[in-house]
Each structure stands twice: as C-alpha cells, then as structure tokens.
C-alpha cells in the first residue's frame, strides 16, 4: 500500500525506479503486457496505461509488434541525492535481484543466511521430539497468546544476563524477527507517515515501508559506527518522523556496531522527541569476541524501544522463531500478532525452549562466533587481494557480512548480472537505500565455511570488476 496513487502510476514508478537504478538498461525489453498482468495481478489496461506514461516520460519506446524497450537515450542524470521524505519502491528490485532465476548458485555470497551446516541440527531435531513430547494437548490451543511461555521466560533470562530486566509478558514471540518488525511498524504508523531509517540499511525495512505506504527519511550510516546522530537530529526537526527503525549491532549490510555511548545518545534523542525506536538486533549474539553488546534498549527508561531478536541467524534457520520485547507497546503488539496470525508455530517454539534449557546454546554460540570471525576474515582478505586497488572493505566486529566499496565508476548491478550467470551471487548496493544509491558497493556473505571454491569465486569477481574498467 503506497498512498492513493492509481495502480498504473505505481507500476510506472516501479519500472522508472528500475531504469534509474540501472536494473533495466537502455535497449532492455520490458516484460510483455501479459507477463506483467500475471506478475502484478493487475489488468491489461493498467499495464498499457503504465507503459504509455513511461513512453510520455521518454523512458521507454514502443516497437511495432515487438513490445516495449527501455529508451536508448539515457534518462536524465539523477537529481542530487534526495534528502526529503520519499515514498519507497524498492521491493520489485529486491525480488528481481535476489531471485536467482534459472541460475544454479555454487557461491552464495549474496545470501542473507549463514551456512546451515554451522547449526546444531541433530540436537535441534532431538529437541523437536522432546519439546513436543512435553507439550500437553491443552497447550496447543490455550497457551497461544504471546507464544510459548517457557521460551518467553528463557528469553527474559538472557536479557537479565545483560543486566536488562524485561518481564516475559513484554516479550511477544513472532514468526522470525521479520514479522515482529513489520507488525511493530504497522502498529506505530499510518499510511503517509514518515519513518527514519539508515542508509545503507536492511532492504526488508524498505520493503516494509513500501507495503505500508510510508515515506522514508534516510540518514547516513557510518560503516563502522552506524547511523549519524547529527543528521538524525536535523531530520527529526524537519520531518517529525513517527518512528525510527535501525540496526544497532553488526548491522546489515555494513556490519557497523554503534558504540555504547552513541546508543545512549540515540535513545535520549529519540525519547526527547517521543519517537519510538524499532531496534532490529538479530545479529547481537554474533560478536567475534566476547559476549553480545548491550542494545540501545538497555538505555531506555520509558518503554519506547521495541527490541527484535531471533534464533534464525544463531541457532535454527527455517524454524522462524523470533521475538519483540516491545516495552509499553507490548499489549498492542500482542493484539496485532493475534489478529495477523494468532501465534507462532508451537513445535518450533517448544524445541527451542527445550534446547535452551539443555544449556548447550552458549557453547554453540561460542563455536559459531569463532567460525564466523574466521570466515569473515578470510573473505575480507581475499577481497582485498583480488579486487582492484582502491577497493574498501568494512572490518566488522561481529556478524558475517562485509560491505565492499569499489573504486568510483564501478557498477555492482552489472557485476551482479555477470556473476549470477557464472553461479556466484552477491547483494548489490542499490538494494540498501530508497534512492538507488551505492551503485559502486556490494554486500558479501562470510557465513559460508571457507573453501577453495569460494576463493575461486572471489578471484572471479575481481576479474569481472577489472573487466568493467577495461
């Protein structure tokens, strides 16, 4: 839902965005009217109207009997980077770029997940059986609101180890953190509202804004220390955002970690203006050394931080068990969850509760953190060795992503297309902003065990990049 624009206008805007971002290039053929009808679920008339509008803007041309093509004359250069609140239309690009089409991927450097081989799948399977054996029939229909109560208590205990006192009632279990983040944003906003996000930032936040018809105010994020608070203060003063959505520890895509004092200042700034913070913290348990950093929520005294966590990246991919510690929004979030999907899947929740009770989670986390640190280091070294001089790579203190900035003039979208054809995926920079920025950047995934095949893939990426400048 993006405001009240008619459908053909939205379709035209989406395609214009793809052309502006370079995902569609001069000479490329647009999908047929029939294909677009099917993929967008709209009428032929809508597609024709959209294509005509694009034609009138000079962005596409019609060729008799053979369809529509991106106009050969380059579209006008993009305007200076837009800082005013803007509607978001990135979803089409996300799905197009992250779908692999007919290509088989042997080097999943664009994936958002660590390799599933890093997880204790056998122990989880045993926990699935044991957890389900301990479930009484009545629990299946009666304990649903808010999710598995033992698991909520175990999550509260993990907060307590960080010195944070979060009552289990404040924790709403969701289908992965993603559902919790989406429901939180929906709860706090109405269509047309403005939301503060960071740039580059996680594309799922952009997609959520797009679906809810919200406008994005982007503040720059430093690849080491996260969102710029001065820019944020200025944006708050000018645009009165209704909510703020950030990753504060080992962020996606840069791996940035906001230092403790900055987290404290962030919370103070937002609370001073009564702006709730949606803190997406799904990588917090993956520091390369030591324990998890305190989240921004630890510095909040007013219940205005909705802190989202997950077991998807640390223990059990595919189980889809996440949560939001929603502060004073917990009762409202619980109701939103009940209305949207009633409750999470009981077997997965019971299994994770049983696994956590067994006491092996911390040992597993220590091993996982060591593996990710080594893999990320190897990936970073290989990139610096094989990519052209002038390439910059972040050196995160946790998680498994690295953010690569190629020398000026390089094009991650073209690189993405060329690499995909050879079975190598990557996440191009324009996925991570509302305005198609970061053309020369890409996110690579260090979550795979390091192998000669990955060395070859990074070497090949380096060759493809060099051939761009040739």
């Amino acid at each position: 839902m993006s405001g009240a624009a008619p459908r053909y206008r939205q379709l035209a805007d989406d395609i214009a965005g793809l052309i502006r971002s370079g995902a569609l290039r001069p000479g490329d053929r647009l999908p047929s009217v029939r294909q677009t009808q099917a993929s967008r679920g709209c009428s032929a008339a809508t597609v024709f109207q959209a294509y005509h509008l694009l034609e009138s803007r000079g962005l596409v041309r019609a060729a008799e009997r053979s369809g529509y093509f991106v106009a050969p004359a380059a579209p006008p250069p993009p305007a200076p980077r837009e800082r005013a609140p803007q509607p978001v239309a990135v979803s089409e690009m996300v799905f197009q770029l992250l779908g692999t089409g007919p290509h088989e991927i042997h080097a999943p450097l664009g994936s958002a997940f660590p390799s599933p081989t890093l997880f204790p799948l056998d122990a989880l399977r045993r926990a699935l059986t044991a957890g389900s054996r301990r479930t009484s029939p009545a629990e299946l229909t009666q304990q649903l609101p808010g999710g598995h109560s033992a698991l909520r208590r175990l999550i509260a205990l993990r907060y307590l180890r960080l010195g944070m006192s979060i009552p289990p009632d404040e924790i709403v279990l969701t289908d992965g953190a993603l559902e919790g983040l989406n429901l939180s944003l929906q709860l706090l906003t109405r269509p047309g509202d403005t939301v503060l996000i960071e740039s580059p930032g996680f594309y799922a936040a952009l997609q959520a804004l797009e679906r809810l018809g919200l406008r994005a105010v982007q503040v720059p994020a430093d690849p080491a220390e996260g969102a710029d608070l001065d820019a944020m203060a200025a944006a708050i003063a000018r645009h009165a955002p209704r909510a703020c959505w950030l990753m504060t520890s080992f962020s996606n895509p840069t791996g940035s970690l906001m230092p403790p004092e900055k987290k404290r200042a962030l919370v103070a700034l937002l609370e001073r203006h009564g702006i709730p913070l949606i803190e997406d913290d799904v990588y917090a348990e993956l520091p390369h050394e030591g324990g998890p950093p305190l989240p921004a929520k630890a510095y909040s005294t007013r219940g205005e931080v909705l802190h989202a966590g997950s077991f998807a990246k640390t223990l059990a991919p595919g189980y889809r068990v996440g949560w939001v510690a929603a502060g004073r929004y917990a009762p409202a979030l619980l109701r939103a969850k009940l209305s949207q999907s009633l409750s999470g899947s009981w077997p997965a929740q019971a299994a994770i509760a049983h696994y956590l009770e067994g006491g092996d989670y911390d040992r597993h986390l220590r091993a996982l953190r060591r593996a990710l640190a080594e893999q990320q280091r190897a990936l970073r070294t290989a990139v610096l060795q094989h990519f052209p001089p002038g390439t910059r790579v972040t050196r995160p203190l946790g998680g498994y992503f690295v953010w690569v900035e190629l020398p000026p003039g390089h094009d991650s979208l073209a690189l993405h297309r060329a690499a995909l054809a050879e079975g190598i995926s990557l996440a191009p920079g324009p996925l991570f902003s509302a305005g198609g920025d970061f053309r020369a950047c890409l996110r690579l995934n260090g979550g795979q065990p390091w192998t000669p095949a990955l060395v070859r893939a990074v070497t090949r990426l380096g060759e493809l990049i060099r051939s761009q400048s040739a």
Copy 2:
C-alpha cells in the same frame, strides 16, 4: 490502521462502540487512565482527551477522585441498522470478550477450536521427528519461498481429488489461514477502500478490516445457505467494493453451507464486476457426511478467487500451517508473505507433509467428522431442551459450531458476563458484525467431547437466560 483519525478520537470511538453495544453499561467504571495507557500503548494525554470527548458527547461522566463512569442516562437508541459502508471498530470488543480475565473456564463453549484430544497428536509427534530427519540442511535456508514444496504438492493433490487443477506454484503456505487471509486483504486493498463481508461473519475478518483502515459493507447471511446474493448485487452496484471476504462452507459462526449453484452464481456475480473473492474455507474438510463440498473457487475460471485452507482445525492445532491458493494473485501474495515473515516454520510444514504422505489423514478425518457430528447434535439437543421456548438453533451440515438465537429481548452480552463468572465461556452475537447486531444471538462450540459437565453447563446457561427475563 483506521484512516487518519487522531488516537484520542479512535480510543473514544472504541469506547463509544462498547457502550453502544452494551459491553459497557450505565454505571460501569471505565478503566483507569493508567490501565488504558498500558493496554493501548498511548500517552496519558491521549486517554484524557478521549475521556473528555466522551464526556462532551454525554456518554460518560467523571466522578471526583474516583474516575470515569458510563453515564446513567442511556445513550440515544442506535440508529436504524446501518447499511452504508462503515469503518470497523470491533477489535477491542473481541479481545475483551474472548479474553477470560481471571476466570478459569471448565466449559469452553466460546472457544474457536475443537478439543485438541480429537487430533492424532502421537502420530504428529512421530511425523515431526521423521519430517525433520528427512530435511537436508540446505532446505532450511534455500527452499523457503512459498514454503515446503512437497507439502504444496500434497495440497495440490487434494484439490485434484475435488476435480480442481491447482498448480503447486499457485499455493502459498502461510502461518495458519489467518495470515494468508490478512495478507490477501492487504494485497487487494488500500486504506479507505470498501470490502464486502457477510453478517453475521467471522470476527477475524472484521479485525483485519479494522487494522487496514477499510470500510465494511455487510450483506445479510442466511444461517443455512450463507450470504444473500441479491443484497450483494445491490451493494456492489452502490458501493463498488474492492474485494469480498466470505466463508462458503460450514461458516463461522452460523455453520451455513452455500449450495453449489449459489457458489457458482456468487463467483459469476463477482467476476462480472472484477471483484476478487477471499474465500475463507478452513472448515471445508469437516462435513458431517461424505466428502468436502466444492469451494466457490471451483467455479472460477479467471483466477480471481483466493482460497484459504488450514490444518489448524482438522489435524494440527498450534502448528500454524495454512495456505492460500491465490489464483492470479499468487506471485504477488508470495512476495507479500516473503516481506511479512519470509516463510512458515519448517518443522511444522515437514511434519504435516510426512503425515499426509503416510496416508492416515483421510481415516483421521472420517473419525473426526463423526465425532464432531455427534457432539454438535448432542449440543443442539441440549440447547433446545434447556433454553427457553422460542430459542432457535442452526443445524449445520458440517463444522462444530451452532448459532443460537434467543427469544427477543434476551442479551448475549449479559449472559456472557454471568456465564464467565461460573467458568462457562460463549461467543456473544455482537462479535460477529461491524454494528453490534445480534444481541440476542450466541455461538456455541460443539468441538468438545460431550460430557455430563457440558450438559450441566448448557443447563446452567438455560437458567441464566431464564433469569434474564424474570
């Protein structure tokens, strides 16, 4: 999200609705400002503004130092039943009436689920282990879009047995049917749009409309044969709804079953006007005799029916595995699901796939249908025996609900309060419409094995009803 009304106004409207519906009665004390702040996640100022607005409308009065009370002067009688599109504000009532508060329920006649003892929990537990053993690690992160592919194929095969050819790609697995229904509605509408629903109808549809800021056009539903098509045709002509959401087989709350010819006419009517149908069909597998009725989707040739099913009521409560066969909206629905919560929980999907492959599902369904038919018959007989003369009870051909219409003047909301205090739950009629209609009606759940305790509960309900008229 319900349009652009400020929060205090929404809060005031919700409370006014509770007063209008009789859930709050003259002399009742409103929750304290602090309680309301906590339950609604809003500021004290918002609550005060709302209470002041209600005071200015003459609906509540403030008593020095002791809070706010519903005004003793009865509010003006409700206007003649509203047929124009109306915003929906039923969620607060649903949560208040379906939460049991401090009461322990021994007779869950208000529950929406059958007793979990009717399900093959041991076999499901074995399937959970076996299904997970057969899952390769890569499946956990790679097969996510759309859900477990074997399960989608098995669902497609069940459609095929009905003579319906639904490709597995058209089926999107969701977290219960409820998530699928919500995502479908969100996909098809924008805030402010009008949606056609039936009255009485399932309260989750009302809650979905409310959260998305949609307006309801209600058409009367016959307790035997479902939504009135003449009324629907008139409503379409006058209000140009963007979508229609109905239950066509063994509906909640009445148990109505739309006959085949009526389903055909329904689809023809909607397709003639280009209105997509969201067909909530989670009780289809529970006919008391024979096999499941054909859904309305079977009569659609244009992919305009989004058919939602679930295993929650027939096999595995708490697993939260449902689906939507979304016709031409399938690609868009898949993207909505990916953005909202990525995918369903893998262990539950793998377990159900394994169970279905084992071939016991149909035998289980036959036993379940027999049990539900007997229980519902016993419940119906007891109601007719113990409730006052003039009480009417539906005689559904499937599912497990009965819809009870008390003689004029009786009040299901008062009955609900009195019964709850004695450990008996029921679902009062006003939950099932946007306008607080059906005060003299209630939904009872025949999903529990029939016991002397339930006989006593129905007897006691009869006494409570008689004492109302005394």
